[in-house]
Amino acid sequence: MSENKEPGMAYNMSKLHKVMAVLSFIFFVTTVWVFLDDYIRPWKAIQVEAQQIKRKHTDDALKAATKELDGKKLSDLDSSLAKGQEIVSGRKAEIEKAEKELKVVLTKLKAQTIKNGVLNGDVSAANFQYETAQGAHDHKTAEKKLEELTVLKKEFILGKDNSKALQAEEKIIRAKLADLNKEVISTEKEIKEFTMKVTLLKAAKATTDINPIFAIRNMPFIDYLDPTIKIQQIVINNVTDDRYFRQVPKVDRCITCHVFIDQPGYEKEKQPFRTHPKLDLMVGMESKHPMKVTGCTSCHGGEGQRVNDFASVAHMPDGEKQEKEWIQKYGWKEPHHVASPMFKLSQTEAGCVKCHADVQLVKGATVLNEGRMAIEKYGCYACHKISGWGENRRKPGPSLLKIAGKVDKEWFKSWVWEPRSFNKHSKMPAFFRQSNNSKPEFIRLNMAEVNAIAEYVYDKSKPYVANEKFHPGNAENGKKIISQVGCLGCHGVDGLEEQSDKVKAYAGPWLTGLGSKVQPDWLVSWLKKPSHYQEDTIMPSMRLSDTEANDIATYLLSLRNKSFEGLTFAKLDTKARDELLAEYNSTFDTYASAVSKVAKMGDREKTLDLGKRSIGKYGCYSCHNLEGFDGYEGIGPNLTKEGSKPITQFGFGLQHQIPAQRDAWITAHLQRPSRWDEGIDKVFKDLNKMPNFYMSEAEAKKITVALLGQVSDVVPLNGIKRFTAGEALYNEAMKVAGKYNCMGCHQIDGLRGDILKAYADDINQGPPRLVNEGHRVQTNWLYHFFGNVEPIRPWLQIRMPSFNLSLEEKNKLVAGFQQGAQQGTFEEPEMTVAWEPGEKEGAVKLWNSYNCVSCHSIGFTKDTPLAPNLHLASKRLRPSWIKLWLKNPQGILPGTVMPSFFGDDGNAPIDTTVFGGDAPKQINALTKYVIELGGKTTTK
């Protein structure tokens, strides 16, 4: 082709055109491609599918509504409309005339409006000029202007009047017109109302049509005009994301795919179209966490801003099955570069912690609450700081200040060495004989440490003399008492496994092998008066008689652990001791000089020194009161922000079978912390010191949920529910209640009441449930009651113990209950009973007809009482509560034996003869009567 070249040309022109054509083609294809690449998004398909689902739902509703429509009525209406039209068309001439009149009036009105507008402007302007002249003290001009103004104003008023007259005229004519058309208008209106629902549904259905307009609206390029398929988002101003130390409002676009999350009626659809399962608590408009305020990722975690792919959102599958399903369905993969992936479904409640940090138990959050109870049980907070867990919590283990008076040293060593060999329910974790310290050379050193710890503890132990003497009693009776008075609210007991397993008490230790452990005298005095041995114990006094105490002790002492008794602990290996001490001393020194330094110490001195260092090393002082450790911090890492700790900061060791996820690590860690050292050659002092609690997987998972929620996100003040003064006091009271394990027995406002599970047959035989207790009882009475417990329900075998409450704690409880129920301190404490004429007679009649004394027999008959003494009611109960109680007892305590005398709604009294069956009056009278029983002064 080169012969075709023109002179002065390097290339053949047609060749250039060909190259141009090919390149342009490629260019064109890439242009189309880039458009499509931008346009095609997975969430669009989901929204189209959602539209179809909505269409189906609307269609169903429409069909139902159409079916409901009374066809006959509709045809009647239609025919009456036709009739009406006929009638109205007969009045054609009249209507036309009226319309003509209307037109004339409207024209006049319009003309008048224009005139008035001009006048209005003139008046305002003249007014301004007048005022300006006045202001400038130009009285001459002012006067002139005033004259003008007066004339204008008069005209204006006339004009306005004229307008009003015309408007009135218009109204009359319109009314006339309406009257002339009334048959048609009213029927039309009736038809419209009658078919309203169907019309609306039809319109709703029309919005789901897939038609050309839908296609145009969502077409590439022009989908900016008014698309129906679009990203939906919620901007949450009160919950923020941290972006380089700046708090930026969260943006959640989850609803782009979870289209119906806040709309009831889609509960049965497949994901992502399902309605939120707890609409009344979450997401729903009327719930406490409305969608637009709380958003999605505030609770669930994950990447709320992402919409383009399932995995980048950081959806997390719960379990292998779901993982497989997701991989297959959505191409799910482990999220990378995501700070906080979503909480797995079973861990969702972790999301509550971020905002509900300072409360003990969150209502409705079952798993989380159980996790928090487990933390309480194992005392994690003692070694690990966790914000929200209070700074001055009690130490979870028993005091060792007088330990020598309780157990002997040999027992102590064996116990520390391996607590589970004595008590398989032990909450005391195992530090030794773990997979990372079971090499013979480590065991040798560990045993030296245990020996030294025991020497130190016993060296510091103060003498203790029991204040009771043990006299063997009836073990069977003791066992019965234990099962009845309420010990099981805090303790599991050998021989009572069935009940204990139901209650799952955890505040106190499981009682086993006591005969192999404690001195009998100590046990009796402990039972009689726990604070004699340990001043700050939470163990209450059950006000046991000597016989009862001895019976219980006899039973407990009969529980023995023979194999443990036979154990003897090896003697202190002084070589190992010296090695360890030299190791400690060589931290800042050469080993040789450390050895020589140790050699200069006395034998006893060495042992005690190692004991103290070992206690410090294992953090025993965190859980137990011990002398010499004031001001020592817990040895565990701070867990306050555990849920936000970068995954790279978790040491997985060689445990490759554990997925590299925060929750998996925590669960594995809790179950067997020593695993991280496995297969790694570590020196003795560097071994992982976290002890083994032998937790079940279920428990570990629950604690994991509670810890996962400990995220570092800063929630702005207005994003968190702020306590009112009353709620704050209630919260404080609940902390005290938590400390003394009140909820081991009492269910307080629906939470816990562990022991009630042992009373499943008859809940009324268990400890009373406390609902809005601050409203039920008077403040003074409650305060008094805590100091001097007196039986209220003598038929119950379970006893309210006498707690060793401090004054502050007592006040907190009383004030918290009272404020939590929003009651005044002194509501009607001295209410005088003022009877209306005839009221008292009615009250007496009711008293008899409702037969109150059949249960509230105390002070009336000799029958066994089944209900509290009403003579005490006026001192104990608030009258306003008595009324509520009378009205609907089942509403307050479902399953109570108190009958409902006033029907389910509290308005239908059984006895209709008194006060004409007026329920409020009856309730009032009965309340007064009950209060009078307490010996209040009566006035006529």
Partner: protein, 360 residues
């Protein structure tokens, strides 16, 4: 008393015709205006008047606003350059009448000189002077800064940047689509079209008035009266609620001016014919529509036939240029026409179709 007179005179109703008349006389007697004597006398007269103006606290407070400084500079500069251009044109015209060439075309001015240093140096001087001027300006006047942005309350009056105030002033007479979109668009298009419409070969490269009266008159009217004058009104004479305030008037928030404007359709159907407004929108506005169309489509052919100037223009320009030129001129004059209709008849819209957002 005198102040009140000035206040009254500066109301656009009066000042606009005054400015127009002044403009007419300026061009009619441009040779007198273009003398140095005239300039000296005017300056001598303006100095005491300005001093008197400045003595008024209300006027001074408006003048001294930092953002108004550029407008004052603009005013002084426009005043001077207008006179200067007229002066130069008058000089040249006298020479042309005498059969000489314009000064710029004299052989000595056509002589070639070195760019270095003649041009480069003068440019440098201009830069230095300009920099010095800007720095001094910046030192004396702080750039304005008001309260931080708050979308929930608007300052009153809310004014656009000063160079757009001509447009904002047009908003009083036209709807935004005309004042803000169509008219500015036509200004730009018209300006670009100028060299293609103005086929007059004379006056290329030198100041003259005589040789291109039509072009200069049309341009200067648009520039001085419809642009600069309106900016001055917008900056100095429009206060809260875009109400007119005289130069000596305090911007009293409560000032109310009697104004109630009526549409052409209302005037005709209700006031004149006494019948109500027809329901059909087009019928309702038919008079306005006919008038508007007639204004654009009838005047140019009529002028081309019936008037002498029109005939000449038509012959000189040819049909296309003629119609484009007439269209632009008519659009320009629509503003003064609308103003005058407003003042005389309180006319709001000639065509009022708020239903279609189409008001004229």
């Amino acid at each position: 008393m005198l102040r009140e007179l000035v206040n009254k005179l500066s109301d656009p109703i009066i000042s606009f015709p005054l400015v127009t008349i002044g403009f007419y006389f300026m061009l009619k007697y441009y040779k007198i205006v273009g003398t140095k004597k005239f300039a000296y006398w005017t300056t001598a007269l303006l100095i005491p008047i300005t001093t008197w103006f400045l003595a008024d606290p209300n006027f001074f407070s408006i003048i001294k606003t930092p953002d108004n400084i550029p407008i004052i500079i603009l005013l002084l500069l426009v005043g001077f350059v207008t006179w200067f251009a007229i002066h130069k044109a008058a000089e040249n015209d006298t020479r042309i009448e005498a059969g000489l060439c314009p000064i710029e075309a004299t052989p000595e001015n056509r002589e070639k000189v070195w760019s270095w240093p003649n041009l480069v140096y003068t440019e440098l001087f201009a830069m230095i002077a300009c920099t010095a001027f800007l720095v001094v300006w910046a030192i004396i006047f702080k750039a304005p800064l008001e309260e931080s942005a708050n979308p929930t309350w608007a300052p009153n009056p809310a004014k656009a940047p000063w160079y757009f105030l001509g447009l904002q002033e047009m908003l009083v007479y036209f709807d935004p689509w005309m004042a803000g979109v169509v008219l500015p668009g036509l200004i730009v298009a018209g300006l670009i079209a100028v060299p293609y419409i103005d086929t007059n070969p004379k006056g290329n490269g030198y100041f003259t008035f005589k040789e291109r009266k039509m072009a200069i008159t049309a341009f200067l009217y648009g520039w001085l009266v419809l642009w600069v004058y309106l900016i001055i009104v917008g900056v100095f004479l429009r206060g809260p609620n875009w109400t007119f305030y005289g130069p000596f008037e305090f911007w009293d928030f409560h000032k109310v001016v009697a104004s109630f404007n009526v549409n052409l359709s209302e005037i005709i159907w209700i006031k004149m014919l006494g019948v109500g407004l027809p329901k059909n929108l087009v019928v309702r506005e038919i008079f306005g529509i006919i008038l508007s169309i007639a204004y654009i489509s009838i005047i140019p052919p009529w002028a081309a036939k019936a008037t002498k100037a029109g005939r000449e223009l038509f012959l000189n320009l040819g049909a296309t240029r003629y119609y484009i030129f007439m269209f632009l001129v008519l659009m320009m004059t629509s503003l003064p026409i609308k103003m005058i209709l407003r003042w005389l008849f309180s006319l709001k819209y000639i065509v009022a179709l708020p239903e279609w957002e189409l008001n004229l």
